[in-house]
Symmetry: C2
Subunit: 327 residues, 2 copies
């Protein structure tokens, strides 16, 4: 590939940046962190064949590659400030790049998170490395993984299982009807980062995490970091209604273990239930209490018959994205 082609690529991404930013085109971007705010930074890498199939829609990949990073900001309670794009592609293909940029910029515009810089390179497979910047009120600890407290309610946003079941259909492991698949694949291809919810939870929630590796695995990260345990009321875990076409057991496994979910799991004092319900209503986001943090370590499921059994967070090797782990 000629260098000129890579110079061309930046045309897909070069857009005006807000007042006070120095954006795309210099050695680095310059921006102001508003007075009284701390900076929050996260970075997720997506690799072809590992986190997405080679023939995935470029538009949805543009959306999703930014969404997974915004979801990390949301899980800290941060407000987006801007992002940098590292993009490796085997060749400069107009159709692919313009679709990718469309999907990317649509979500950037919608969330007020402009592209402020980055790097494009030639690579054998498609590699996307986005760094998202956000802000938190200075002195606020954010919604950290290690802040859950015994007695906290455990909450989850949205409904679960959709992305995992759509992926199972794509992999030929199950067969869904066309209309069900089309509805469920939206969760896989166009996940919604819960930014307003994360910011609304500052001052209400103790700990939060986005459950991109699945509810059980990511909740376990919170429990380990906080040095406590949890009891989940299994019947209360909200399952996407379209999963009614599967056996209840399959649907529940998808909801508990299925990855690629960008909902927030958070813990909060029981005394704040009304305020959290009100927040969910105000944001039109379904918020469900699904259990309680316990002082004793261990993750347990409470069954309908009153039995309490241990829930294993490990062993979900069939999710490609679990090979990914925050440094």
């Amino acid at each position: 590939m000629k260098a000129g082609e890579f110079t061309l690529i930046k045309q897909y991404f070069d857009r005006p940046v807000p007042e006070g930013f120095l954006g795309v085109g210099d050695d680095a971007a310059i921006l102001s962190v508003p007075l009284g705010q701390s900076l929050v930074v996260c970075k997720d890498m997506l690799v072809q064949g590992r986190h997405f199939v080679p023939d995935v829609s470029a538009h949805s990949l543009g959306h999703k590659s930014l969404a997974v990073n915004l979801s990390d900001l949301a899980a800290m309670g941060a407000k987006p400030l801007g992002f940098l794009l590292g993009l490796g592609v085997p060749k400069a293909e107009h159709a692919w790049l313009s679709e990718y940029a469309l999907g990317l910029h649509a979500l950037a515009d919608q969330t007020g998170c402009p592209l402020i810089g980055g790097d494009t390179v030639c690579s054998q497979d498609i590699v996307i490395s986005i760094t998202a910047l956000g802000t938190l009120p200075q002195g606020h600890p954010g919604l950290r993984r290690n802040a859950a407290q015994a007695g906290d309610d455990i909450w989850i946003s949205g409904v679960l299982g959709a992305a995992d079941v759509a992926l199972q259909h794509q992999l030929g492991q199950i067969t869904l009807s066309e209309d069900v698949f089309l509805r469920l694949r939206q969760y896989l291809d166009y996940p919604t980062p819960r930014l307003a919810l994360g910011q609304g939870l500052l001052g209400l929630a103790h700990a939060a995490i986005d459950i991109s590796d699945g509810l059980l695995q990511d909740l376990s990260h919170v429990l380990n970091a906080s040095g406590c345990g949890a009891e989940l009321v299994l019947a209360d875990v909200p399952i996407h209604p379209d999963l009614a076409c599967l056996s209840f057991e399959k649907a529940q496994i998808a909801a508990l273990q299925g990855g690629d979910v960008y909902e927030l799991c958070f813990t909060a004092p029981a005394g704040l239930r009304d305020q959290i319900d009100a927040l969910g209503l105000a944001l039109s986001v379904q918020l469900t209490r699904i259990g309680q943090i316990q002082a004793q370590p261990g993750l347990f499921g409470l069954h309908g018959d009153g039995q309490l059994t241990p829930l294993a967070p490990e062993g979900f090797d069939h999710f490609a994205h679990e090979h990914k782990d925050n440094v």
Copy 2:
């Protein structure tokens, strides 16, 4: 690869972060930008087979992958604050990871730029995407590419040509004696980002750029962005003394066009020569005046015989890294 292996990888990178930082291990890092400072952010991607050979020393790759980003901060006049690491490797290999981490952390410690977060993934080839954060005094425009002015002196730090000639030897295009190669490869494998120089030039220099794509190409970026031209006094361009083993023409081409150089090329008013000379002395960095910015566009070389000929900045397709271009 099992997910557990990737959980292990973070042990190579998980180190205490400074007071006030939330580092490795949560959804995102939190940090304070000191009062009165703007944030500067840059991101470079390095891909195996494109920016480095597969059998490159992991230690030098650790150093270099951070150095190229710090060099971008230096070229803005910014002071490092911290960095995020996106690392894709085919497998979790202890020897490679520990060497890589050693090289990375050695430069991080030396430059006061701690690792504050990131992501590790499994990828077919090694891919490294580092995002470096730095600060500039608030309101200071930094050393931008578009700020060169007619009449400015053009300066270069250090001596040129070493990295390119070492690469030519590695590629078998030329043969150097063992001791010359060992000296020159230091420039290729362990480049020094000119951080102190960049910060010292704030208030003195107008425009600056690091010449990672070669002096002529990167100076052309400054000229294009600033809407002006330049005359270089070819005999004044400082060449690494070890290049005396080559013909003068070959040495000069390496100095003018050779890439992978992390020296700063900057422009400054002629009235500040004494101050810039003093800065170079104070920092023990060789600073050489090599020409002048002209109002008329175009890049010209002044030869010893008084002839002025156009210098073409394009067409250096033999440098692997030129396939890289800032978004």
